[in-house]
C-alpha cells in the first residue's frame, strides 16, 4: 500500500505529498494509508504538502480536514503546507470550514510549526 501512496518518514514526522489531479478513490486511499502509518510508527507529526495541487474542491478539502481530525485522535499533530493562492481564495469562497486546520507557507516552516505544536500538546516550554 505504501508504495502507491506518496508517504515519507523524516524522524517522528510523516510527510504526505499530494500532487496532480487526484481522483476521489486515490484521495481516500491516501487518507487510510496515512492513518495506518501514523498508528504503526507512532508518528508525532504529519506534514501534508499540497503545493502540487492546482485544485482543491470541497471533497478533497473535506478529506484533508477529516484526516487532520483522525491524526489528532491518534495523538499526533498535523499541518498543511503550500496551499496555492488561487486555491486558498477558492476554498474561502466555496465556504469549506477549515478553522481547525493549521497551515504553513512551506515545508520548512511546516516542520517548525509541527515542533511548536508538539511542544504545546506535551506542555513543554522552551
Amino acid at each position: 500500500m505504501l508504495e502507491q501512496v506518496p508517504l515519507q518518514r523524516l524522524g517522528h514526522t510523516i510527510i504526505v505529498t499530494l500532487q496532480g489531479d487526484l481522483d476521489d478513490a486515490t484521495v481516500e486511499r491516501i487518507e487510510r494509508a496515512v492513518t495506518d502509518e501514523v498508528a504503526k510508527v507512532r508518528a508525532r507529526g504529519v506534514l501534508i504538502d499540497v503545493s502540487g495541487l492546482a485544485v482543491v474542491d470541497s471533497f478533497v478539502a473535506r478529506v484533508i480536514a477529516r484526516l487532520v481530525g483522525m491524526v489528532a485522535l491518534l495523538g499526533a499533530v498535523s499541518t498543511i503546507v503550500g496551499i496555492q493562492p488561487a486555491v486558498a481564495i477558492t476554498l474561502v469562497e466555496l465556504g469549506v470550514p477549515m478553522d481547525h486546520v493549521h497551515t504553513a507557507l512551506n515545508a520548512e516552516q511546516g516542520m517548525a510549526r509541527l515542533r511548536r505544536m508538539w511542544d504545546d500538546t506535551t506542555g513543554y516550554r522552551r
Partner: protein, 148 residues
C-alpha cells in the same frame, strides 16, 4: 448544427462545444481537465481558472451523487461577449431534480450526506450561475467565468 466534439481538446471560439459524459467518479478528472484547457483558450487568469475548475468539479460530483445512475453530460465551450472571453459550461442530468431550489442554494443544505456546499459554493465562485430544475425531470446548471 455542427456536430459535437467528444475529444477533450480545447475549442476556439465559434467551434463546437466539447462534450464530456459523466458515468462515474472517474469522469470528474475529465471534466476538470477539459475546463482547465478551455480556461487557457479563453485567457482566464489563474484564480478565475481555479474557481472555474473547482465549481465544475462540485457540479460534476453532484451529478455522480444525485442523478439517476449518476449519469449526465457536460458541455464546455468558449463564450464571447464583446471583446471579453470566457468559458461556459452546461451540466445536465435527468435525475430526480431539486424540489426546493431556494433551500438547495443555501449553505449547509444537503440531501446526500455531504456538506451541502456544492451549489451555493459554486455560485459564489462563478461570474454567472443559472440553475433550472424540474422535480422528476432533471437539473441543468449553466456556469460562466469571464477573463476579466
Amino acid at each position: 448544427m455542427t456536430p459535437l466534439a467528444t475529444a477533450a481538446e480545447p475549442r476556439a471560439p465559434g467551434e463546437a462545444p466539447t462534450l464530456v459524459q459523466i458515468t462515474g467518479e472517474a469522469d470528474l478528472l475529465r471534466v476538470r481537465s477539459t475546463l482547465r484547457a478551455q480556461a487557457q483558450v479563453a485567457g482566464l487568469g489563474l484564480t478565475a481558472a481555479t474557481k472555474l475548475v473547482t465549481a465544475g468539479s462540485e457540479l460534476a460530483r453532484n451529478i455522480v451523487r444525485y442523478a439517476t445512475h449518476g449519469q449526465g453530460v457536460v458541455l464546455v465551450e468558449t463564450a464571447e461577449e464583446g471583446s471579453r472571453r470566457g468559458v461556459r459550461a452546461r451540466f445536465s442530468d435527468d435525475g430526480p431534480g431539486i424540489v426546493d431550489l431556494g433551500a438547495a442554494m443555501t449553505d449547509g443544505y444537503s440531501s446526500g450526506g455531504s456538506m451541502g456546499l456544492g451549489l451555493p459554493g459554486s455560485r459564489r465562485l462563478m461570474d454567472e450561475f443559472e440553475i433550472d430544475s424540474v422535480p422528476g425531470r432533471g437539473t441543468t446548471i449553466v456556469i460562466c467565468q469571464w477573463n476579466r
